[in-house]
């Protein structure tokens, strides 16, 4: 019964391969190059080795090897043909037939892999059967094999974790360049040390116990349903460690988010407005107060929606980048025009969402200028960047703003060169609205 089904499966597979061969002939004829030939030959050699192990499947394997050659050719031609096919697509909705062909090759390639797996499986089954017939079969052989694999996995896993920390960790890690960020970093490192120890220890136990206590002939498990003392220990120890982390984290969090009122007022104020898919920056101007914004006053010219009835708004400054002085506390007011965005500066350890209908604040003090950072990174083009970190639509992946940290003199000089929001055109528009349509405006806002 089983044999029959197997045969039918092979027959179907053989047919599929034959169809694949038929497809491939024309392209095979004129797209042959030396490189393709090389790979084809080596692939053929590989499969022949594996194929010879199973004499029962010789017929299929012969097909297999031939088709793999084809498929390997197809793989190499894909890259060359894709560029030409894209130009074809530009001209019209027609899709290059080669595309379908390539797809067929990939599917065939996968089927071949499946066949190889099936053949190897069969060989193993036959091997087991002969062992059983000779009376040498060890029913625990596989058990031992799997437990050994788990130990090998453990070694590979620990190596992988080490590689990750050493290489990717090095790529990822840049020390914070803000005052609060340094505290976050300390906590980050402490947490990392703790969890790495736990991760490694737990995995060593989890993956060596299976090897040590694998089922063998005559082994028996130790009936050990519970031990209250041990359980108490491993409840209390994590609880204590977590309490320490919680307290540390809680006070850090409070110190970041709970800024005393006098410090809030003495800081430089900057407003950042997120919209699809850009950021706008507003500095308060000479009076140090950011003017009011009323989204209902948004016009094509006044896209920010600044309410110029508030005189504080008259001297507000428009900036193309976020420029802030080093070692000065800056208080960001984060707002949104349309949907939720997120104001995120990884280097500063700063993030807060921009939510329509409310203002969020984040106050921090940068400790390093862009120039110093470039020197430190040894990268003359390095820039701090603020990016959107809350899904906001098709342009989400490219919603950024440069952040420049400068010395205080440079900051003042830069600020004096920036334009005001309340341009002459806007003044005219405002005057017209103010005199004529102000009534209409109030009724509109009631709706």
């Amino acid at each position: 019964m089983k044999f029959k089904i197997n045969n039918r499966f092979r027959a179907v597979l053989g047919c599929l391969l034959a169809v694949g061969l038929l497809f491939s002939t024309p392209s095979f004829a004129f797209q042959q190059d030396s490189l393709a030939q090389d790979t084809a030959v080596s692939a053929t050699a590989d499969t022949v080795d594996e194929g010879e192990a199973d004499t029962a499947a010789t017929g299929v394997v012969a097909d297999t090897t031939a088709a793999e050659g084809e498929a390997a050719t197809a793989t190499t031609t894909t890259s060359s043909s894709s560029s030409s096919s894209s130009t074809v697509v530009d001209e019209g909705p027609q899709i290059d037939p080669q595309v379908y062909k390539n797809m067929t090759y990939y599917i065939l390639l996968f089927l071949i892999v499946c066949t190889v797996v099936a053949v190897v499986g069969k060989v193993l089954a036959i091997y087991e059967l002969t062992r059983k017939m000779n009376g040498k079969y060890n029913p625990f052989a596989n058990n031992t094999f799997q437990s050994v694999l788990l130990v090998i996995f453990l070694v590979a896993f620990l190596g992988f974790v080490y590689y990750g920390y050493a290489v990717w960790g090095d790529w990822a890690w840049r020390s914070a360049v803000t005052e609060h960020g340094e505290r976050i970093d300390t906590m980050f490192i402490i947490t990392t040390v703790i969890i790495t120890i736990v991760l490694v220890l737990v995995h060593i136990l989890l993956l060596t116990f299976p090897y040590i206590y694998r089922m063998r002939k005559g082994t028996k498990a130790y009936y050990y349903p519970h031990n209250d003392t041990i359980e108490k220990i491993w409840t209390i120890v994590p609880a204590v460690v977590l309490t320490v982390l919680v307290l540390f984290g809680f006070f850090t969090w409070r110190s970041i988010t709970n800024v005393p009122e006098d410090l809030q007022k003495s800081a430089i104020q900057v407003e950042v407005l997120g919209e699809q898919f850009q950021w706008q920056i507003r500095y308060p101007g000479a009076d140090g107060v950011i003017g009011k914004r009323n989204y209902k006053m948004t016009t094509p010219m006044n896209s920010y929606g600044i309410d110029f009835n508030d005189k504080h708004a008259w001297d507000d400054i428009q900036a193309s980048d976020i420029v802030i002085p080093v070692n000065k506390s800056v208080r960001f007011h984060i707002i949104s025009k349309d949907i939720i965005h997120s104001f995120y500066i990884p280097d500063f350890r700063v993030q807060i969402n921009a939510v329509p209908g409310m203002t969020n604040y984040f106050q921090f003090t940068p400790t390093m200028t862009t120039e110093d950072m470039r020197e430190k990174m040894n990268d003359p083009k390095y820039d701090f960047v603020m990016l959107c970190n809350k899904i906001c639509g098709s342009g989400h992946y490219n919603m950024q703003k440069k952040v420049v940290v400068v010395t205080e003199e440079e900051y003042k000089e830069w600020l004096s060169t920036q334009n005001k929001y309340f341009t002459e055109d806007l003044q005219k528009e405002f005057a017209a609205v103010d005199s004529g349509d102000s009534k209409e405006f109030t009724t509109a806002s009631l709706n």
């Binding site: 788990l150 977590l242 409070r254 349309d338 350890r349 939510v355 329509p356 899904i391």
Partner: protein
Amino acid sequence: MSSTVISHGAAHHDAHDHHQETFLTKYIFSQDHKMIAKQFLITGIVMAVFAMLLSILFRIQLAWPDTDFPILEVFLGKWAEGGRMKPEFFLSLVTIHGTMMVFFVLTAGLSGTFSNLLIPYQLGARDMASPLMNMLSYWFFFTACVIMVASFFVESGPASAGWTIYPPLSSVPTSIPGSGLGMTLWLISMTLFIASQVLGGVNYISTVLNMRTKGMDLWKMPLTIWAFFLTAIVGLLSFPVLVSAVVLLFFDRSVGTSFYLSDLVVQGEILPNEGGSPILFQHLFWFLGHPEVYIVVMPALGLTSEIISTNSRKPIFGYHAMVYSLVGITVLSFIVWGHHMFVTGMNPFLGGVFMITTLIIAVPSAVKAFNYIATLWRGNIRFTPAMMFAIGMVSFFVSGGLTGLYLGNAALDINLHDTYFVVAHFHLVMGSASIFGMLAGVYHWYPKMFGRMMDTKLGYLHFWLTFIGAYLVFFPMHFMGIDGVPRRYYTFTAFPFMDKWISVNLLITWSAIVAGLAQVAFLWNFFASIWKGKKATQNPWNSNTLEWTTPVEHIHGNWPGEIPTVYRWPYDYSKPGHDTDFIPQTVPFSETMSSNLPHDFEGNEEAIRIQNEWNKENNREVIEG
């Protein structure tokens, strides 16, 4: 009391023997818990494959952002014109992948399958408390799946606001095309899904509370049942909150209310909505959303407990601690949702409070992990494919759970929120861990479901490729997150600092493709074994629980005669003094005089007296007390 239960059961059984079962009542509108379990499982697998293909698609985009794949145009049409995926469609893929995996695969596919299969079996019940509700539960779920898949055939595309569907992005169609009809379908699908979950949850809870067989008190239930029971409670209390969130969102979208909307100028158009708050939606969503991750992981933990104990031939270590930690997780899961909102503008003091509750929930989780390891210690471990997956599950649960200590910490979350670190964290701790728990369950209970065995070699192949693949996919993502790479980015080419991660993306995508193809080994194994697998014996794993006392052939009412009586807890493996290394729950203590321990009698003096007499006669140590 007990006699009435049995006679009722027997009568019920006889009455139903005369039913003519048609194809329709047996396979389609079945009210039999075993058939419904299979329906849930197969639908779940189909959804998992679909959602996995979506993930492969967006992984291809991330690995080769500058390459055209003309074949994509064949399948995706205008969403991949010229062979390059559109950003909107990328977001749709991410959204639907998340929704399907979390809700359809890991919620319905996991607890739907195994609660239905195991609750009646392991408790000794003839069927669920309400078979009709059980059937409805499946069909609501199925309809939800169909609607969700159907949203791919809508012109404006499927929902694309992320699986968390935060308004206003999800409520203003001008902000993203997916928030048109696609989003409406998402909301309808989700409402049906929640109806399914509530019907299922009520059923599970009432079955566990009312239909246990004689002798099966709560402390004799297997940990699987405890996990399903507590999961059902969490689901029943939290899913309705998502209904309210979804219905209000539906009103905002279709009726013109302003529950979540205020002060919007979208694409230059001033919207009339005023007075709502997007934060409100986030609270409502995460009030479900966080318990949801425990809904996903607790059944996996339950299945893993059972499988590890059975295959270690050793009682689960600290049964009571395991139950109490599940109860602890259940209770705490309702008061931690705010940790998803540390930087959304929620009052920062509230953030601090949520941070404390969040880190407390790590304690019961840690206890569980340590107890698993203690169960392995000095066991007699048998590596069935199910056991391999169970060990993998513990590994993922630990690796993923540990990074929760960063994200649960509000101060550290500032820099990690919504980055790839989060993606890595939850894919390990709730994605991979739960999938592994589910797969372990499939391999372990397959003989019970289909009466045949799965092929073990393919099982090992499947395990190793998936286990290694999952680590290769998700582990590097931690570092991208630490560097500040946000999730849901269509391409990494817009920022110089992300350039270095493109090589890592290649590794991740190739690993994902290989791991994805490895699932073919599972699918082949699963579906082919239904007809061609080796015939299963009644108790292939030498397990103690009740489901293995039923005949291999499925019969209506599960047990041909009386429902068996339960005398002991389900973890009497390798008890010293007994001749086999397992004692099923149905074996009374009078038949195991040589292995009884003083603890077994729970203070029953008559039983202790009899045992002592026997002990004296047979030169065994006399029990004190």
